[in-house]
């Protein structure tokens, strides 16, 4: 069985109100060295057998993310 990690992040040009809110909170709590925060999604998939990379890529790009506003990063680890 393999583990696939998919991180979905907003495209850099898209505004990220959640990240902004976290950044604001960090500032108020005195963590002044943090310059920016972006918040995305983190998926962990367990896949039977050897994963089909093309299939996973397609899943990531069409179901897990909306390519209009999001980018994806895929990491595969086979146990």
């Amino acid at each position: 069985m393999s583990r696939v990690v998919v991180d979905v992040v907003l495209k850099p040009e898209i505004s990220d109100p959640q990240g902004q809110a976290v950044l604001g909170a960090l500032g108020r709590l005195g963590h002044d060295s943090i310059r920016s925060v972006r918040q995305g999604k983190h998926f962990v998939l367990e896949v039977d057998g050897t994963p089909d990379e093309a299939e996973l890529k397609q899943i990531a790009e069409t179901l897990l993310a909306n390519p209009v506003i999001e980018d994806v990063e895929l990491q595969l680890t086979t146990d």
Binding site: P17, Q18, A21, V22, G24, A25, R28, L29, Q39
Partner: protein, 223 residues
């Protein structure tokens, strides 16, 4: 009796909570999240809404607001506190109540008139009810699923700290149908449904919510 209602950025039901206090015969006092001033109130209500947009986790950022430090200190010394919906989430995030509130199991925001069973009629906020009484008040949330580790839930049940349970359908997938819990001393209560929306026949499904506010007024008189 002076009942404080805290406004955080993104609080929505603060006007409603203040109205409920007034209709119950109390004096609502507006409190501001950024101050360090509880204005000598006899009790505090944390209202519903989307403090800080509910970004990160519902209630997480508000739990770290300046005024919350004062609320935590005074609550530990016995100041009655009621957290409604987002207020409940804030109280859990601030560590004043156990457990956590997470995304509804069906993943949708849900607004409906909800039947609750009162499990404890001896807290500061529920003494005008009877144990086992059914009340109807609106529920409306997207992150209202109460969760905790099983052992913690067992302990909560054992200690009698479950104050309300959903009856006739669980609107968000909460563990063991838990709708509200209390602190060990019964002075801090948090629940997802909205008693402040059930205080007038004209605008609510019932007036069953008034009991929360009349209860605390009684407690304050007897204190």
């Amino acid at each position: 009796m002076r009942i404080g209602v805290i406004t955080f950025p993104g609080s929505l039901d603060d006007v409603d909570a203040a109205r409920a206090v007034r209709l119950a015969g109390g004096e609502p006092v507006a409190l501001w999240h950024g101050d360090h001033d509880l204005k000598d109130v006899d009790a505090v209500v944390l209202p519903g809404g989307f403090s800080y947009g509910d970004y990160l986790r519902a209630g997480a950022i508000a739990a770290r607001a300046p005024l919350m430090q004062d609320v935590v200190t005074q609550a530990r010394q016995g100041l009655p506190v009621l957290g409604i919906c987002n207020g409940f989430q804030v109280l859990c995030e601030a560590g004043l109540l156990p457990g956590a509130l997470t995304r509804n199991s069906h993943l949708h925001f849900r607004n409906r008139d909800q039947v609750l069973r009162v499990e404890r009629a001896d807290t500061t906020w529920t003494q005008d009810y009877e144990t086992g009484q059914h009340i109807v008040i609106p529920v409306k949330n997207g992150e209202g699923r109460y969760v905790a580790a099983d052992a913690d839930l067992d302990r909560l049940e054992g200690d009698g700290r479950v104050v309300f349970r959903y009856v006739g359908g669980n609107p968000n997938g909460s563990s063991r149908d838990i709708a509200g819990v209390t602190s060990g001393d019964g002075r801090i209560v948090g629940l997802m449904p909205h008693p402040e929306h059930a205080v007038e026949d004209l605008t609510g499904p019932s007036t069953d919510g008034l009991g929360f506010f009349t209860s605390v007024l009684k407690a304050a008189v007897n204190a």
